[in-house]
Subunit: 339 residues, 2 copies
DNA sequence: CTGTTAGCGCTTTCAG
DNA sequence: CTGAAAGCGCTAACAG
């Protein structure tokens, strides 16, 4: 379109002057405010003027006036985990659809409690999605007391915090067990992360419960992490146990990768000598050796639902607990086989 | 610390009233404004009042008044790629150190051009870091014309856009070649992504140049992507070529993983029958089968440098081209061996 | 259908 | 060392 833009950014007053109307009318028309019924001629003039000047409303002014910044905060433990990437993606997409911006915070350094409180206390964001296990329950409860209408837990539940969105983690673990049982495995192992993470608690519960239900012997190992290293060491521990399992469930995708590595190092063939199922799917599953059987959970949708819940809170709805209904789905690849 | 906080968020006026001074003085003292020299008694009263009320400055008001939102925008192609995760991490950390917030945008949907222009045009962020290859050079040039002091390219260079930060991609590729050559390989293959990505162009240049310099025969394959699938298909193509290589360089980490998978499927043992080096390292490298030799590039530092450059632009410095000086480092694992 | 008025909460002159 | 006044750009009543 036109040449070099003007020095100063165009304001509402500039648009109003150019269109020959009052600023407030411009505001109403440009926002499609119901009270902004202008003659279609005027509307047209305003629209054209705004376009010609490349007008963009100033978010700070708008936010100050309306006390709505049209932004959500997302607190992540980091960017590395594939699940959190998926969640972030889902959050971003839905927030965008709903016209909201996304402010990201991780908390590798500094006091996470302070940092996140600030985002909403300073009015930078209208609500906060907490998708991190690192903040203690205690801190979260204190937080929600101060910000009851603007805190949503993602992939986590904490007693005393009503607004949360989780997946069917327990069902996913049960499905993994069922798959293995159907293949004839009777002695099934599992590597879980620490009990301080409630996803781990729920997955573990589903695992143990389903084993019990089917009359199988669960061989559970709890590690202090849930990354590749934890999987590697957990697999070794399983192998060294009295009566090692013939099949294993990995609490997370990285854990599964670590286990694959450990089995290879110990000369245990997968799936011939050991079947492996991962909880949560990942794009790389198709390119591992062997291709990894997984239980897919809708992580991106988890993020989207969290956004919806947060926006409903902003609109005054009561906090509630959401379980994303999509059932876990088994994606059978080459890391599992009949006993 | 005390009981339930007040209904309404405390404002500067509230603090001033409680401390018995004028709001403007509170503002100056709390910001350590040089013109805010107050008697240490007054300072103390103000500080205490602010603390007691749990005062937090309103970012919208502050931003409106000072036209500095203390926030940076980061435009990513998505959250999936490990390199972009690392960049995001570096950006977030440094921005935080410098007191800046981080607004994330991806652009799976919608017109990316519009979306990013808006972030800064609306004053939501003070500058934009573009770490995405998906926006066309043309669009970027147009953009920088309108926002000369607030656009920084990350991991990318575009003619006409002065502010950019990149890594020593070319040197990394050369280092990979050198490593392979030292192991006695003479016929070295490589799988690169599309030439539309300038990282690919630079890595390819380094690869070809170093091969030539050492008198080796480069066998280059260009794919339309740079993910696992591209690596898989690229490896197959290399294998089917007349006179296949004995060693390969992968343009990205995911490409290397895809190649590993393809070699396994074709019964080509790594490293016995084929050596593999990846450009860029990743935490999972130690858990692949075999453990993957990589050339590490400081992706997180790339993000940090981009933040520094952006803030310098905001402060009025001239745009400049930064090459993160850290030399690429070979991390020798088990996917490469002497011929 | 359109204009007026007021003010969100803060920073920034300028006085004193 | 501290106070007063003005206003950033916008939206939200209320008039007309």
């Amino acid at each position: 379109m036109g040449g070099a833009g003007p020095r100063r950014r165009a304001t509402l007053a500039d648009v109003a002057a150019r269109a020959g109307v009052h600023p407030s009318l411009v505001s109403r028309v440009l926002r499609n405010d119901p009270s902004g019924y202008a003659s279609s001629d005027t509307r047209e003039r305003i629209r054209r003027a705004a376009l010609e000047l490349g007008y963009r409303a100033n978010d700070a002014a708008r936010g100050l006036r309306s006390s709505r910044m049209m932004a959500l905060g997302l607190l992540l433990p980091g960017f590395s985990s594939p699940v959190y990437s998926a969640i972030a993606h889902g959050v971003e997409e839905r927030a965008d659809e709903r016209g909201y911006g996304l402010v990201i915070g991780t908390h590798a350094a500094g006091d996470p409690h302070e940092a996140i409180t600030d985002m909403v206390m300073r009015g930078r964001v209208d609500a906060l999605l907490v998708a991190s296990g690192r903040i203690e329950d205690q801190a979260l409860r204190r937080l929600v007391r101060r910000l009851p209408e603007s805190l949503v837990l993602v992939n986590r539940q904490v007693k005393g915090v009503a607004a949360s969105v989780v997946l069917r983690d327990s069902d996913a673990a049960a499905l993994a067990v069922r798959h293995l049982a159907e293949l004839g495995h009777r002695r099934i192992g599992a590597v879980f992360g620490p009990r301080t993470l409630d996803t781990m608690v729920r997955r573990r519960r589903g695992f143990v419960h389903e084993c019990t239900r089917l009359g199988l012997e669960p061989v559970v190992t709890e590690m202090d992490g849930r990354d590749h290293g934890a999987g590697f060491r957990g697999a070794l521990r399983l192998l060294d146990a009295a009566g090692p399992p013939t099949a294993v469930v990995a609490a997370t995708f990285p854990v599964a990768v670590g286990m694959l590595s450990a089995f290879h190092e110990r000369g245990v063939a997968v799936p011939a000598g050991m079947s492996v199922v991962s909880l949560h799917d990942d794009a790389v599953a198709d390119y591992l050796v062997p291709r990894l059987t997984t239980v897919m959970l809708p992580a991106a949708r988890l993020g989207a639902e969290a956004v919806d819940l947060a926006l409903s809170l902003i609109d005054g709805a009561a906090p509630r607990r959401v379980v994303v209904p999509d059932p876990p789905r088994l994606i059978s690849r080459n890391s599992t086989t009949a006993l």
